[in-house]
Structures are given as C-alpha cells and as structure tokens.
C-alpha cells in the first residue's frame, strides 16, 4: 500500500520558488491499478518519481507498506526499489551498452539472484523476444525496446509497477500491443499498477483515475 501525506515539491528558479506539487494526499491499495492523468506540466511525472523514491519531496511523507521512504537515504530507497518496484519509462531507458538479456538480468543480478539468466530468458520469451536476447538496445526497434523494458520491470516480481507514459514514444499500433502486454503481465503478477498517461482509453482500463492540475489533485 502507498500513502502520501501532504506531499509537495518545489524548485527554485530565476523567478523565485516554483511549486510543482502541493498538498497531495493519496492512498493506493495493494493490487489496485491507478491512472494519473492531467495536462502537460501538471506534475504527473514528478508525482510518480516521488512515489517511486526516484526523487525526494520538499514537504510531506510517503509510506510504502508502512515504511516512510522520505526518511531513507538514497541507498535505502535503492534497496526498496530493487525489492518492491518495477518501472516502465516513456523513453525506454535501457543501458545502451548491454544486450536485451543483460538489461533484463540486471535488477536480479543486483539482488544476487543466481537464477538471473533463466528468469530473464523466460520473461523475454514471454514478451516475444526470445530471438533477440543478444541484441544490444541500440539494435532494437522502439516497440522491442519497450518490451525489453517490460520484461525488466516484471522480472523481479515487484509489488508495485510504475509506468510513465509507456506508449508516448511509440506509434498507436505498437503502443496498443505494449498496453495489452502490460495489463496481461500485471494480471499474471498481481502487481499494483500506477500509470501516468494522456490517453483517455488507457486511463479507463485502470480501476481508478486521479487527475492533477497545477500540481494539485482535483
């Protein structure tokens, strides 16, 4: 379960303090799927980064399964991410020097998993890339890269999956394939899904939608 309490984020700019998020109070239950929607610049990506522990808030608290992650240091949050959290990014974010297989194995290996190769191969097979295991990220198409990213996100069997506009960089046909795959795998792994999207149809597939405007929940 994720709980936020009075969550806020502001940055200093040349024109003074800019509030990106303010007073966000939110509860996400286990197994729930949530779409965060809103216009560009409304603070969606910032919220998801904070919830996943990729950034630190300026005010407020975030609790994941009862643990306050705002009091943890970067290494503590990294360990938490490794155990609980999977990610899918708009720009795929694969390590370019690694092959598809190595990219998927990475989170397992960081955890010292001896079965990394077998598990990663199985997941890549599941996303239909058994024939692309040893291709480097650069040699894959956008759709293929996002499938590798999906496999990487699910390979640690995370309790939470964060997806930040996962189809934003793909054409509509490839995008809908990826979404199908995402929801299928989410069902199979019974993961809590938090999704940032502009796509109304995609949002409607989630159990609940929350809307952000100018950094606040409405």
């Amino acid at each position: 379960m994720i709980e936020t309490e009075n969550l806020g984020k502001s940055v200093t700019t040349a024109d003074g303090l800019l509030h990106i998020l303010a007073s966000v109070n939110l509860i996400i239950k286990p197994g729930e799927s949530i779409a965060i929607i809103g216009e560009s610049g409304s603070g969606k990506s910032t919220l998801i980064s904070l919830l996943a522990g990729l950034d630190t808030p300026s005010t407020g608290k975030i609790r994941i399964n009862g643990q306050d992650i705002t009091t943890m240091d970067e290494d503590g949050r990294a360990a938490l991410r490794n155990q609980l959290i999977g990610f899918v990014f708009q720009a795929f974010q694969l390590l370019p020097a690694l092959t598809a297989l190595e990219n998927v194995m990475l989170p397992l290996e960081l955890n010292g998993d001896k079965q990394a190769k077998a598990k990663a191969t199985a997941l890549l097979d599941r996303v239909g890339l058994a024939h692309r295991l040893n291709h480097k990220a650069k040699q894959l198409s956008g759709g293929e890269q996002q499938r590798v990213a999906l496999a990487r996100a699910f390979v640690t069997q995370p309790a939470l999956l964060f997806a930040d506009e996962p189809t934003g960089n793909l054409d509509s046909k490839t995008g809908s394939h990826i979404i199908e795959l995402l929801f299928e795998m989410n069902r199979e792994h019974q993961t809590t899904l938090i999704l940032v999207t502009h796509d109304k149809q995609l949002a409607e597939r989630c159990q609940r939608s929350i809307r952000l405007a100018a950094g606040q929940l409405i």
Binding site: L54, E74, A91, L95, L106, L110, K138
Partner: protein, 827 residues
C-alpha cells in the same frame, strides 16, 4: 557575420548553464600553462644569456694580439655600445727573494661590463661585490700571490717599474678563463698604471680584450660590420664557442625548456580535444534542430567557429594573465638564486602565448566541430543522434601537424621536433591498434566475471574505439609527464656525474717523467688521490694530407683557433674515460704513427679517418694517420685532448706529465710544500672556475625542477578534467542502475575498477611511448647514454592506476549527487 549575434547568444546561454565549464577550464589550463612556461622560459633564457655574458664580462669581446683600429671603437660608439678594455700578459714578480710568474690584467674603468668582481680583505673573509676594478696605484691579487711572495695586504708589489699598493684579494673574476697552460695567479691593476710599468714593449706577448655591451640589435649590427675586418690574429668571442664546458650545460638546459613547452602544449591539446569532444556530443541535438530549421552546413560551421573564437579570445586573455602571474611568482621564488637583474618578460612572448592559445584551441577543437557540421536534418527526426564517425586520420593529422608546428616554433629544432613526434606517434598508433585488437577478445570473456567486475570493465571493453581514444589521451598526458620527469633526472644526474663532490680542483703540469712515481707517493702521503698521468708534448698541427692546414680553416672556427696555437699532444694505450669513438676504431695495440682526433675539431677542419696529419714539435716535423674520431665531454674538469697518438709516435720528443686531483681546504696547505719540492711543476687551482660552473648548474637545476612541477601540475589537472568530460554517460547509467536498485557502494566499485583499469593500461602504454621517445631523444638530440628505466616500468602503471582510479572516484561524487529522476527526466 550574419550569425555572429546568434553565436553570441548561444555562447552566453551555454556559459550560464555551465555547459562550457569543462572546456573553459581546459582552455585556461592550456593557455596559462603554455603562457606561463613560454614567458618563464623566455625570461629565464634571456637572464641566462645575460648571465652567460658575465663569463665574458661583456656581450661581445674582440681578442687581439695588438691594439685594434680606433675606427672600430668609434663605430661601436656610434652604435651606442658601452666599452671596456683589458690587457693580459705574463710577468715575473720578485718580492722578498721569491719569484712568481703571474698573469697581469690591466683593466679600464668600465670593466666589467657584465657581472661583477668579488674581493675580500683577508683570506675569503668579508667578501664584497664590486662593479669596478682596482683604482690607479693599487693592485688586487689572488691569495696565491700573497702566499708565494710572502706579502700581505697593504704591502707594495712592483710590476716592472711601477710599485703598487696591494689592496684586496680577488676571490671571483667573471671572465677568468680556464686555459690551463696560461694559468698563473692573477694580479689585477688599473689600465692607467700600465704605461708606467714599462713591461709592454714592442714584440711583447700580450692579449688585448675589447669588450662591448648594449642593445642586442646594435650588437648584432656591430658584429656583422666587424666580421669582415678581422685579421687572423683577432677573434670575436661568444659564450657557446668560447666556453664549451658552460655552453653545453646551457644548451641542454635550453633544450629542456623547449621540451617542457612541448609537454605542456601536448597536455593542453589533449585537454582541449577531450573537452570539445564532449561539447560536440552535447550539441548534436541543437545542431540537428538548426539543420531542420534550414541552417546550411557552412553556416553551422561559422556559428560554432564564432563561438570558439570568442571563447578563445576570452580564455587566452585570462590564461595569459594567469600565466604572467605564475611566471612572476616563480621568479620571486627563485630570487635568491638568480642574478639581481632579471630580463623583463617580453611582450612578444605574451602575444605568442595568446596566439598559441588560439592555435591549440582551433587545432584540437576543429575536428570535433567538423563533426557537428555533418549532422543531418533527418537524424533529429529519427532521434538517431549518435556522433557521426569521422575518419580518424583527419582528426589526428590536423592536431598532429599543429603540434608539430608549435613544437618547431618552440624549439627551433627540427630534429627534436621530428624525433618527438615521429617516435611518439608511431608508438602510440601502433599500441592503439594493438589495444583495439586486444580489447575484443576480452569482451568475449566478460560474461564469466562477477557483476562488479563485469560492469567495471564493460565500459572499457564494449566500445573499443571510445576506450582507445580515452586511453590514448591518458597515456599521452602521462607519457608527457614521464618525459619531463626522466629527462630532468638524467640531466641533473649527468651534471652531477660530471661534477661530483670530489671533482679535481688542481692540475699539476710540467712534471718530469722521472718525478712521476715520487710525486704520486707524495700526494698519497697527504691522502690525495691523483688521476691518470698523461704525457704531454707541445706541438702544432701544420698540414692536412700534405697541404697547409690553414687552407682548411674557416674564420672564427674552432679549427682556426686550434691551428694558431700549440696543442697538447698526448699518447695513450687506453681510451680515456668520457671519450667515445664515433668514427674509425680505437686499437689498444695500435702501432706507432696513428692519431685519434676530437670530433668537433675534425669536423671544423674536415679531417676524416685515414687522413694524414703533419705536426711540428719545436723545429722537428712528423706525421700520423687518423685512425679514429672521438667525442668528449668538455664539462668534466678532467684533462681533455684534441690529439691522442698511439704509443711510440711521440717517443722521439721530450715530454712532461699532466695530472689532476682533488684537494680540500686542509690539504691545500700541504701543496705549497709540494710546490717547493718540485720547483719545475706548475700547480693550477681551478676552484674558482669549478665554483662558477657549479653555481650555474645548481641554478639551472632549480629552474628545471620548477618547470617539471609546472608540467606535472598541468598534467594532473588535465587528467582530472579529462575524467570529468567522460562523466555524462556515467551519470546516466548510474542513475538508471540506481533506479533498478543498485546502491552507491556498487556504483563506487564499478567506477573505481573502470578507472583503475583505464589507468593501468594507460600507464603501461605511457611507459612504452616514453621509453621509445626517450631513446630517440637521448641518442639523437641530447647525446646522452640511454639506460632502460626499470623503475618506470615498475612504478608508473601502479601510480597511474591509483591516480586515475582516484580521479574516477572523485568524479563519482557527481554521479551520486543527482536524484535518478532528475537525470532520467533530462534525457
């Protein structure tokens, strides 16, 4: 100029966002480093030349056996040159029933034009500096004169018909010359008293020295005007020709200054190249967008060139300022060791440094900029923004030819330039190729390693071209540093070897062969070790292949001076220490009738192996065939000979023996007893010359140490800056790995492993490159023996591993300081 304002705006934005900080830092290091060293070198060189002039007591000296025409002196006056004169001759002095052959020197009021005299009241007590010689009616004498003639200060000394008051003891004379055979103790008097002594009569053997100093251009003009007018008995003197033992030390020091300039230029170039590579990679996106908006390739090139020209002007100005301060600080630190009057920094050197900044910047920055020009509009739409491959030769040949040009300008030494560049680049490229080949198989073995090692090494192994470039940059910087370091060590060791603590400070001449054994024993009883006894016969070289040798000489050459006087001819079975055969052969059992000739003299007279040389000893003639040419070290203070004959060749002629030895302060007093026991021998004390030489060398050593520090400091700064330029990719992959759960310890380990490996490989490569360049440099340019330096092999790779590993570790802080979300969002 259409895009100038856009260029200015882009530059301003980049500057404000911190985008240019690495490039600007590299540029400032480059320019201030090269400006500092150029200015320092230029100023030190001028100071050293000035100081070298002290050894002549003037900038230019005409020696003559008679008065020179009045019109010459008038010409010098027209050129606004200062003038002084001294007259030297030998005279026998008689006081208190003792006889002494002294070397009298009568000096004019303006003597010395350069440098100073040192005198003391009593023996070496309260030394005082004086910029003028003795006043009329007085004489200054060396301590030996007082001892030999039983005189003390305040007594009267009679030279010829003139009685003079002995006023001071001379302890230092700038232009005391080390001609051992005319070396008798000095008595210095005022020129006004010369006439009254009545010693100089028509036909007397007298040396006149006409000294000049002033503006370099006026001196050069005067020299040119004078040269055709000189008669065979007149000669122009110059420090390099006239004092070979000082000249060669100066030459080498000058070369070291040149080398340091090259080292700094190279290091600076590497820094700029690394920084612009990063700059161009980070500007691919913006360039592609400009291309999309209709910018032509040429316009893109101008847009960036304008920015670099502005940047270059600003950084060069700042660098020149900092360089100026740096060299000034150096001179302040060296104040006590350098002469009180320093040459002022030349504006030419400043403007040259400014231009150098530009040349380094454009030479190293242009190739990566050309890559920006080639970005296609399509690449932005496809988001395919990888840097376009550019033919490596274009990048490197441009930079290399620029470095060549700079090196040549700095050193004015084509041979040194070609040696450094040729050997360095061939080795570097050879190893780069080899490294590329070696990295590939390593890639195959990577999956077998543990996660930390795999990630640590993969940065190196996955993209060989990028790694090879990085390794080349590091090893070039390290090699440049090693080069500076080793040459400095060898140069100083070489000097110390020439002038060790117990360098002979006495020469004993005119020893009869039957006295040799007894004399050696007497020395031994005073705990003085004598060196080899060389037999000496005085003779003249008269013919070369049966033609008069005068036909083979050119004016003012070493050959001319050697054929105008008697030479010390010796014979030996063994090749003397420090002599090296460079042509022909040295045969221990050579038959009589062969001669080995000193190489520079041979070169000056055109003597080759197999030539027939004719000599006269007294009225007798003999000839010998040249069987070898020798090079020798003039700066060792040991007896050196132009001509060494095979044993037996000179058997028919009378000879005396010559040896040298070291005596310390206490042993010196015993020597006067020895001088009394062997009245025929001449004991020459060369302490003053030795002290002069040692002073000069210790000053040069200090200056060289500072230059080395400068080069090393620039090297280290550049190594750290270079690490910074490679951080972008690491910050990204670090953020991504942290997103996936990697902790900071893991990131720290992989970063250290990668940089340590980089350091180790660069260290090994740097030692290989520097060994090759050093070998070339020693054998071709510095003419010093090359010894393989095992300590470098053992020391440099671990040091490089540590230093570059630490630089990587330092850079890691930036990798860890970003929140992952921040990095991933920026992409």
């Amino acid at each position: 100029m259409r895009h100038f304002s856009l260029a200015l705006k882009l530059l301003w934005r980049d500057g404000r966002s911190g985008e240019l900080s690495v490039l600007v830092l590299a540029l400032i290091i480059a320019v201030s480093g090269s400006a500092g060293i150029t200015l320092f070198a230029d100023r030190l060189q001028n100071t050293m030349t000035n100081q070298a002039a002290e050894f002549l007591a003037a900038d230019l000296v005409i020696t003559s056996s008679a008065q020179i025409p009045e019109s010459w002196l008038q010409q010098a006056q027209q050129q606004h040159l200062q003038q002084a004169q001294s007259v030297e001759f030998s005279s026998v002095l008689v006081e208190n029933n003792s006889l002494l052959l002294a070397s009298i020197k009568a000096v004019s009021a303006a003597y010395p034009l350069r440098g100073y005299l040192k005198t003391s009241a009593a023996d070496y007590q309260q030394e005082a500096i004086s910029y003028q010689g003795p006043k009329a009616g007085t004489a200054w004498v060396e301590q030996r004169v007082l001892a030999s003639l039983n005189l003390k200060l305040g007594d009267t000394l009679t030279i010829g018909e003139q009685a003079l008051l002995v006023q001071r003891v001379i302890t230092y004379e700038p232009d005391k010359r080390g001609d051992f055979y005319s070396f008798s103790p000095r008595v210095m008097i005022n020129q006004q008293d010369l006439q009254a002594t009545g010693v100089i009569q028509p036909g007397s053997h007298v040396h006149y020295f006409f000294q000049f100093s002033g503006n370099p251009q006026a001196l050069a003009d005067f020299k040119q005007w004078l040269k055709p007018l000189l008669t065979p008995s007149q000669r122009l003197m110059d420090i390099h020709e006239d004092r070979p033992e000082l000249g060669s030390a100066l030459d080498r020091a000058e070369r070291y200054l040149g080398l340091s300039s090259i080292v700094i230029t190279l290091i600076a170039g590497v820094a700029i190249a690394m920084a612009t590579r990063r700059y161009s990679e980070r500007h691919l996106n913006a360039t592609a967008i400009l291309r999309c908006l209709g910018c032509k390739q040429q316009e893109i090139l101008w847009l960036y060139s304008y920015q670099f020209i502005i940047l270059g002007a600003l950084a060069s100005s700042l660098g020149c300022g900092l360089g100026w301060l740096a060299q000034d600080a150096l001179f302040v630190m060296l104040k006590d060791l350098l002469p009180a009057q320093l040459a002022s920094p030349s504006l030419l050197a400043v403007s040259f440094s400014f231009a150098t900044g530009f040349m380094i910047l454009l030479g190293f920055a242009l190739p990566p900029l050309l890559r920006l020009k080639n970005v296609t509009a399509l690449s932005v739409l496809r988001r395919d923004l990888q840097p376009l491959p550019v033919a490596a030769w274009l990048v490197y040949s441009l930079a290399a030819s620029l470095v060549a040009l700079l090196i040549w300008r700095y050193t004015q030494d084509l041979k040194m330039t070609l040696t450094l560049l040729g050997v360095g680049f061939v080795t570097l490229l050879g190893f780069a190729w080899l490294l590329g080949k070696l990295l590939w198989p390593l890639q195959q073995g990577l999956p077998k390693l543990s996660l930390v090692w795999r990630f640590g090494l993969q940065g190196l192994v996955r993209e060989p071209p990028a790694s090879v470039t990085q390794i080349m940059a590091f090893s070039l910087t390290l090699a440049a540093m090693i080069l500076s370091f080793s040459v400095r060590n060898d140069l100083i060791a070489d000097w110390q070897q020439h002038l060790p603590a117990q360098t002979p400070n006495y020469f004993a001449l005119n020893l009869a062969p039957n006295q040799q054994e007894q004399f050696a024993q007497d020395l031994q009883s005073q705990n003085i070790d004598s060196n080899i006894f060389f037999p000496v016969t005085r003779g003249r070289l008269v013919t070369l292949n049966n033609t008069p040798v005068q036909q083979h000489v050119s004016k003012d050459s070493q050959g001319e001076s050697a054929t105008h006087r008697e030479l010390s001819l010796t014979w030996s079975k063994e090749l003397p220490e420090d002599n090296k055969i460079i042509a022909g052969q040295w045969l221990p059992s050579s038959p009589a009738g062969l001669v080995s000739v000193e190489a520079k003299l041979a070169d000056s007279l055109g003597i080759k192996v197999g030539d027939e040389l004719g000599f006269t000893v007294g009225s007798q003639q003999f000839s010998a065939k040249v069987n070898s040419l020798r090079s020798l070290q003039w700066d060792t203070m040991k007896p050196n000979f132009y001509m060494i004959f095979s044993p037996g060749t000179l058997a028919a002629f009378p000879s005396t023996l010559l040896t040298s030895f070291y005596a310390d302060g206490q042993q010196k007093s015993a020597l006067s007893a020895l001088a009394k026991k062997y009245p025929s021998i001449t004991l020459l004390e060369v302490d003053l010359i030795l002290k002069q030489l040692q002073n000069l060398l210790s000053q040069l050593t200090l200056a060289i140490n500072f230059l080395l520090c400068f080069a090393l400091l620039a090297g280290f700064t550049v190594l750290f800056a270079a690490v910074l330029t490679t951080l972008d990719g690491r910050i990204y992959s670090g953020a991504l790995m942290r997103t996936l759960g990697a902790n900071s310890q893991f990131l720290r380990q992989i970063q250290i492993i990668e940089f340590a490996a980089l350091g180790f490989i660069s260290g090994v490569l740097a030692v290989c490159v520097s060994a090759a360049v050093l070998y070339g440099l020693y054998s071709q340019v510095l003419h010093m023996a090359y010894q393989p330096k095992w300590l470098l092999w053992a020391g440099v790779p671990p040091c490089a591993t540590f230093i570059i590993g630490m630089a990587g570790y330092q850079g890691l802080r930036r990798v860890l300081s970003y929140a992952p979300a921040q990095v991933l969002r920026e992409l």
